[in-house]
Subunit: 380 residues, 3 copies
């Protein structure tokens, strides 16, 4: 395993799914650090986070990097004493992230804007458009659901022309992933309700299967036309989502309907449906997957998920991502954990004589960078 | 692993979910022994039980304790030659069970009553109220579903005052766990049918989603008010249950509806949905879990389930239980298997440098006793 | 593990679920070889197949047998230079297949017919009747759905008398496995549509839950009466099937309705629902399972699935099968991978002191041949 990690040490990974950092001026507390390494949103969970494998492991890795004791206090003291930009740059360099495909859709007022992020973080960056956020912004000036769909598609085209690398949907959060076509009347009625809220100046949150799935089907057509990979949040995430509705198997219409021929879909996270995701990668040419959130959030079980996924999934379909956000510490930890899980999984293939060491090195380098370069048509 | 087991040797576990023993006068046959270590109810399965990992392992452990050959004949002969109370006491002592939280709801005429059990078994005991059994007993004297719900809540309050440690629901068996609100008319109609059966003196078995889920929602409110943890049978069990309907993910309304804020829920057994259960523990503060029936019934896969569950679940949310019933042999076997699985899982965390040995010892002691003491507000 | 494999070396396995070979005259290309070891139907997947564990492993095993380099070119060159019948016989001999239970339902014009296969392949053969194919052929001359069901049952009786060993259903592909009773009117209407297609001479493909489930319920009655095991495709397969609908848990009515008492059901493939399948084997006397397609298609995860399945499943319920088709290379690879997975799983039981080495040898020999001999009432 060490040998594989060393062989990949020089590979600058393509992190095909991550989020912007907080502005460097934002103070960081122990609670921030704890809530960084959990999908819980409830602050009351902070007392349980130190009793998780992910957090213990993260503290140890960060402390090693900062050369301090593996405690919250030491880590927070040490990072406070450093110049924030240099600290972030050092940790990102250690994460060996060569390219970030950034989803800014989850950003808050505390995070860098797109322009600021590009300026502040010395890593090559491309944008991933978050579909639902874009669609909520395009409600103004449209009078019908069809006009709205057309406006969204037009925006996606513009985004592609402006250099966006892909599109991401969080339909799992807004309506679940059991995709189906809804009656036009149902979709129209939901649209009018949403539109009226927007007109009254109320906060607008796109949700419900008729609109969310309808939008997803439309966006999939545009992604197909533009050659933009469509990233789909699958499997676990924060508790806004009903995990029972988040299996990637529900996306089947995107894979079997000839309408979507040529569409590239990337299943994000996937756990605990990673065996199902791997199956989809094995039988549908356009399907790819990652275990981004699974590593490191699922602790040591993330590594098992990697080995399980490599049962059915071709490694030419597997992508590297951190799903990191907010603090550079997450990039550091996610990168280390992900590379180790990858090395352990490929080492198993070497030990079982499925691959030679050289083949394993090559396969891993594709997962870390090559597959994403090809899929997202990145240069370099 | 040996080191962890030795470090925990003196811990008297809180078995937060177990059932009463058979009266000592009941003779025990080979068929009894076989059917003890399976969830099958069909006696025809007895011929397959010796071809399971759980039974082979159980026989070996019992034989070692009785100092005889690991065969049914030797074990039955040896236990027959011993004084039943002393035999039970010896095995329970070896199981290092300090406190039993007992669900008497599954008891038959062959099992000790609550009072008899407390008298016969020299282990501290508290009661877990089985919701559906209590509710079936409260049909007399109530005229409407609302009166019935009120009567059940009143009984739960009385039980709490009388020292019950928690409430358990077997909704998984009676209606599945895809909880939803049903129309009042539907619930009322089902109630009238049940009530009429009771009035005609026919055997009454509460079932069907409108009543079972309605009752569960009501009981959850009372549990919240009384600070009583609500145990929910999840995952596999005997074949009365449709496993496809037994995922803990279906309990989502209990975790997201603000009505139930403060409610403590304990997911029992969970296999093969233990990764899903661990996820719920990771994102909802009030959720806890155990793998009680999984260990030892799922053979060596129970140990894998433990390692998988410790991926997402904080160990501050994980509880020890045997789900034992009928014979002290089950307590012995379940305790040994459970402790070994726990040791193997924490040993993995030590080996991967997530925890120090001392931290692993502490974490395990919390699972074995501390977490339950806190959750059920046990003294000592 | 080596010891177990050696102990089983002389066992001629009963391959209780496989398919006929291609005629020896059919040329074999690299694309054929690749598409043999994947469930993908889309030829575009061929470029991903070399990036799978299953294909790398298969190439290496075949090359070792042919004494050539582990590359497609070398393997194809080498097999081309051999006399096809002798080549097939050599590989089948190495697979140690003593008996084939053959499902001819998936055959094309390129495969041997039943008679040709029996003639060409020097291995004992029995037929497994594919239910849906038989039913499609019995549409002529029947006027109602009841007549059709009766005709199918009559054909099943004849097949049993003619020596068929069992019946197989691919309801998973045609309607999913969430079995339920449909209204007679619905079934009749679907039947009339199907019948009209047949009368117009159009191609007939039985599908839709009312007909497919109705037929399955009828066939189950006949299988029960004839003592014919009913094989059910469960879990993953080619992309015609919606995996979300293919869990064996949906078959519950066959296990709980007293109508089917005595029916023997064999769950095929099962992955990723093998833990669920193992549960069904553990609680319902008539249920058996295999991991035929899982080994070797799921790569190294197939071996993990075997260990997981042996958690709950009695090994007296576990069967060996290759699910091989088309080329003798598949029989060779599937047999080797399956035996190794079995050896690793039982070795784990030996190491954990659940079984002695001798007991493990005996258990494995039952999986490889004994269980199937008993279940299918094979002589020898």
């Amino acid at each position: 395993m060490r040998d594989l990690l060393e062989a990949w040490a020089d590979i600058e990974a393509v992190d095909h799914h991550c989020h912007p950092l907080w502005r460097f001026t934002r103070p960081v507390t122990a609670a921030d650090l704890r809530m960084l390494f959990t999908e819980a949103l409830d602050g009351a969970m902070a007392r349980h986070v130190p009793s998780t494998a992910v957090y213990r492991d993260a503290l140890r890795r960060i402390a090693q990097e900062l050369d301090c004791a593996p405690t919250e206090e030491a880590v927070l003291r040490e990072r406070k004493g450093r110049e924030p930009a240099a600290h972030a740059e050092a940790l990102l360099r250690r994460s060996r992230t060569g390219t970030m495909l950034l989803d800014h859709g989850f950003a808050s007022s505390e995070t860098f804007s797109i322009a600021e992020h590009a300026e502040a973080i010395p890593v090559q960056q491309r944008e991933i458009v978050r579909l639902e956020v874009l669609a909520e912004r395009r409600l103004g000036g449209v009078r019908s659901v069809d006009e709205w769909f057309a406006a969204v598609r037009s925006s996606l085209r513009q985004a592609a022309e402006a250099g966006a690398a892909g599109v991401k949907t969080i339909a799992a959060y807004r309506a679940g992933l059991r995709l189906r076509r809804h009656a036009a009347g149902e979709t129209a009625a939901d649209f009018m309700r949403l539109k009226e809220r927007a007109q009254r100046g109320e906060p607008v949150r796109l949700s419900g299967a008729p609109l969310v799935h309808g939008l997803l089907f439309e966006a999939a057509l545009e992604c197909r036309d533009q050659g933009l990979p469509l990233q789909v949040h699958c499997g676990f995430g924060d508790p806004d989502e009903d995990l029972a509705e988040a299996s990637p198997l529900g996306l089947r219409p995107l894979f079997t309907d000839p309408l979507y021929e040529g569409l590239k879909v990337v299943l994000l996270h996937c756990y605990p449906f990673h065996r199902e995701a791997a199956y989809l990668c094995a039988v549908f040419e356009g399907v790819h997957m990652d275990l981004s959130l699974t590593l490191p959030i699922a602790g040591l079980d993330g590594g098992r998920a990697m080995r399980e996924a490599l049962g059915l999934a071709p490694w030419s379909k597997l992508l590297y991502a951190s799903d990191a956000s907010r603090l550079p510490e997450y990039f550091l930890v996610a990168a280390a954990v992900h590379r180790e899980a990858l090395a352990a999984a490929f080492q198993e293939l070497v030990e079982r004589r499925v691959l030679t060491q050289d083949e394993a090195i090559d396969a891993g380098s594709r997962v870390l960078a090559g597959n994403a370069r090809e899929l997202y048509r990145l240069s370099g």
